[in-house]
Amino acid sequence: MNFVSPDLSPAYAEMFVLGMTCLVLVVDVFLKDSQRGITYVLSMLTLLGAAAITATSGVVAQELVFSGHFVSDPMGDVLKLVVYATTAVVFLYSRDYLRQNDLFKGEFFMLALFAMLGIMVMISAGSMLSLYLGLELLSLSMYALVAFQRDSAQAAEAAMKYFVLGAIASGCLLYGISLLYGMTGTISLSGISASFSSADQFNIPVLFGLSFVVVGVAFKFGAVPFHSWVPDVYQGAPAPVTLFIASAPKIAAFALAMRLLVDGLGDLQGGWQDMLVALSVLSIVIGNLVAIVQTNIKRMLAYSTISHVGFILLGILTGSQEGYAAAMYYAIAYVVMTTGAFGLIIILSRKGYEAEQLEDFKGLNSRSPWLAGMMLMLVFSMAGIPPFVGFYAKLTVLMGLVEVGLTWLAVLALVFSVVGAFYYLRVVKLMYFDEPQEEGKPEAALDIRVLLSANAALVLLLGLFPDGLMSLCIKVFQ
């Protein structure tokens, strides 16, 4: 038997992360609590190394390895770089919070790194199997992260809810995958793609399998009506975990949708487009309406996430390259905005106290004009007001919609973004127009303040000069 050793170079980043995470796991066992900083530094080095590997890979076209289970392409590289950066930002924001709340443990970093590895595998998945493996690695790490504050009943409840619902969704996805496998006899995405043609768009058995797949994707996105876990998990988890859940996994969900629906089932676009229309319209409408009545800012941001997810789905459902690029741009912009917003919540929180009520933002401008100014930019960006990045994200999605003739969807999305503006304005109102309930500047380490400022500045800079990221997103789909 002739054994050819495969070229593993496209997967070096994944291997590196896996190796380093195991190393961190081992090293951490021998560390005293006071030396936990080493774990932190090693985790950061992991991210840095992975970024170096991915950035220098220089992939220009799609490459398949591991018998087609693993793909490497420019879209994957860009998404992975965003995920590394997001994870690094999460670690930076979280450090002091975790220290103050006696949560500065190796588990947090390890679980987050494993979750990130899952995301990377999903981004590079070339078959249903690797996709599912990545997804489960991500999900299981996430369940554990949510429950990671052991004494908190709220966190345990959230983790339980997340786990049960997540397991059902995984089951749905797996069932859909098995149906598709039954029809095509292959699990590789390119094989599935080859065995369907656009004539199958309205073939009932195919649609049956497809709808289970879409349910799985929608759950991971947190799209209505599969969103019920989102607010509870956001609220129940400690702020750094919420920050992580709210950011990087959305990139994973985007990758999941792209790999499954576009790469694998692209010919069935007519079939899944209608399903995504329903999901995105419901997400935008319900997300924005329910966010208005929230008093807890984590829950409010959860519903706002749901509405943003609706926009990402709007980009995907166009079925055009412009639309995919728009969705990717939106997903990245969303991650930048959301890390900033949760970063601020972490800064405002203190030992044993989560600044999770909207009331906690009262009079922030009097306490710290700088922080309030940063949050102002983030919030207006989320509301889609120019010149912040959130506006261009919405704009590109809407242009994609109008291009394929779905103008009514664009107008509907626009009208509901006005509804959404209302609750974002309320945050500004609390910060600027109300008197503070407590005195004193919120304290934060210098590097965290710099990070938050950089984060908000990025929201503005990407808004003033949106072309760089936009053309990058367009390029990866050409």
């Binding site: 004009p369 506006f391 590109t396 242009m399 107008v411 626009l414 600027y432 072309d467 936009m470």
Partner: protein, 506 residues
């Protein structure tokens, strides 16, 4: 034409960056913030004067054009330029901003740096709206402007400021998103966001009507036209004096500017088809809102309603042309309507700004805007009373003041269109006089009403300076409006040609 210096970019970014600098000065150095704001606004005014000096009023082409690629993926350019329509509005903006900075000098004691920064940033954004020649750039400035105004009303406003500012924001935001949808649609049709290229884009009738209505949603809210005017009285009443002045003097003009820059030239056939709608709404604003103003007890509210009525004249003037040309074929009459609308915009900017400043002077002393709390102010503040009466006369359209010129042009033009239009429009002369002068009678004249009025101090040098500058401009424009009308005449003629043409798909 000067090509060496990017004057328009400077006009936009000097105040914006200046505003950020003022913000950086911090709250502990209030007087530094004040002087810096004054310096920056004066520098911007000087720049706009340089712009005017270099402007050639003989051509309708865009001047001082700047063009750089901005978002190449969607063919969006950073493209600026001014013509005779935009230039007077830019001048008005820089001029009024200086006055607003001076007007807040001692009055604003809370978060001074943020106050001035907000006004300066807004000034830059408003100039951006008037000079953007790319529809998406225009939209970015148009929306971004909401942010500082939202903060100004909300932080330094009156008791119901939160309600007022949220209402202001959501109303205007809702109006503009429809415009955005239209802009994207036209981009898909034409492949460009360049405004002058959109003028040449042929469009079918139903598309034109939809685009026209979406523009109407955006601009009618800003103007504001009846029945979407209800945010204005709330916003005006609750905003601090400076905010009211900017709102009335400049922000409302953006609606009118939008009709001239977008609606008329981009959708001329729909404008012709639906001119009855605009004329009808304008006449309702003039007559009905005039009556509403009559019954107000709050001075600011009264001026706010009078603004709506006066802006009704502006939109009336803009949309009379079709009726005039159909009936008499006279292009001169049509041009007169347009010109009257434009003059009315500038003049209303000065007069309503002055009126709000007058109310601000009283409010700073008495902390009341209720007409009933005043009476006999002339006895204790004779100098101030002189100014207020002058501005009130101008508001009522007294010949010799700028208020007369615009109204007179529009009424003349409407006679050529339809007798009844003119008849209804002319009622403003009665109604305007009635609500303004009746307010003056109750506030300024008569015996001293109470101890508070008896204790009033007359205006100080700062207030005297602001009001006299405004008084001079109102009189100058009223006695000799030719420089202003010359500045815009060729651009308006060009606009008239575009608006009377047809661009239906053959």
């Amino acid at each position: 034409m000067m090509t060496g210096m990017p004057l328009l970019s400077l006009l936009i970014w000097v105040p914006v960056l200046g505003g950020l600098l003022v913000l950086a000065a911090g709250e502990n150095r209030a007087s530094l913030a004040r002087w810096a704001a004054l310096g920056i606004s004066l520098a911007t005014l000087a720049l706009s004067l340089v712009l005017t000096a270099g402007f050639d009023s003989g051509t309708s082409h865009m001047q001082f054009v700047e063009m750089r690629p901005w978002i190449e993926s969607f063919d969006i350019y950073y493209q600026l330029g001014v013509d005779g329509i935009a230039l007077p509005l830019i001048l008005l903006t820089t001029f009024i901003t200086v006055l607003v900075v001076i007007a807040g000098w001692e009055v604003i004691q809370n978060k001074v740096a943020q106050y001035y920064a907000a006004f300066l940033i807004m000034e830059g954004l408003m100039i951006g709206v008037f000079s953007a020649m790319d529809a998406m750039l225009f939209y970015v400035f148009w929306e971004a402007m909401l942010v500082p105004m939202f903060i100004i009303i909300g932080v330094w406003g009156g008791p119901r400021r939160v309600y007022a500012t949220v209402k202001f924001f959501l109303y205007t935001f809702l109006g503009s998103v429809f415009m955005l949808a239209s802009l994207i649609y036209m981009y898909m049709e034409s492949g460009t966001f360049e405004i002058t290229s959109l003028y040449a884009l042929p469009l079918g009738m139903s598309a034109q009507v939809l685009i026209f209505l979406s523009f109407l949603a955006a601009f009618a809210v800003k103007v504001p036209m009846w029945p979407v005017h209800t945010w204005l009285p709330d916003a005006h009443v609750e905003a601090p004096t400076g905010g009211s002045v900017i709102l009335a003097a400049i922000m409302l003009k953006m609606g009118g500017y939008g009709f001239l820059r977008f609606s008329l030239p981009i959708t001329p056939d729909a404008s012709r088809e639906l001119d009855w709608l605009l004329i009808g709404l304008s006449l309702i604003a003039v007559v009905y809102i005039g009556f509403v103003a009559l019954v107000q007890r709050d001075m600011k509210k009264l001026i706010a309603y009078s603004s709506i009525a006066h802006m009704g004249f502006v939109t009336l003037g803009f949309f009379l042309m079709y009726a005039i040309v159909d009936r008499t074929g006279s292009l001169d009459g049509a041009a007169m309507g347009l010109q009257g609308g434009m003059v009315q915009m500038i003049s209303h900017g000065l007069i309503s700004g002055a009126m709000f400043l007058c109310v601000g002077v009283l409010y700073d002393r008495m902390h009341s805007r209720e007409i009933g709390d005043y009476g006999g102010v002339v006895n204790t503040m004779p100098v101030f009373a002189t100014f207020m009466v002058l501005f009130a006369m101008a508001n009522a359209g007294l010949p010799g003041t700028s208020g007369f010129v615009g109204e007179f042009f529009v009424i003349l033009a409407s006679f050529q269109a339809n007798f009844w239009f003119a008849m209804l429009a002319a009622t403003t002369l009665i109604l305007g006089a009635a609500y303004t002068l009746w307010m003056i009678k109750r506030v300024v004249f008569g015996d001293v009403a109470n101890d508070n009025v008896a204790a009033l101090q007359d205006i100080n040098r700062r207030e005297f300076f602001i009001l006299s500058v405004l008084a001079v401009s109102v009189l100058a424009l009223g006695l000799y409006p030719a420089p202003l009308t010359d500045l815009m005449s060729s651009s308006l003629d060009n606009l008239l040609n575009q608006a009377l043409g047809s661009k239906l798909v053959p």
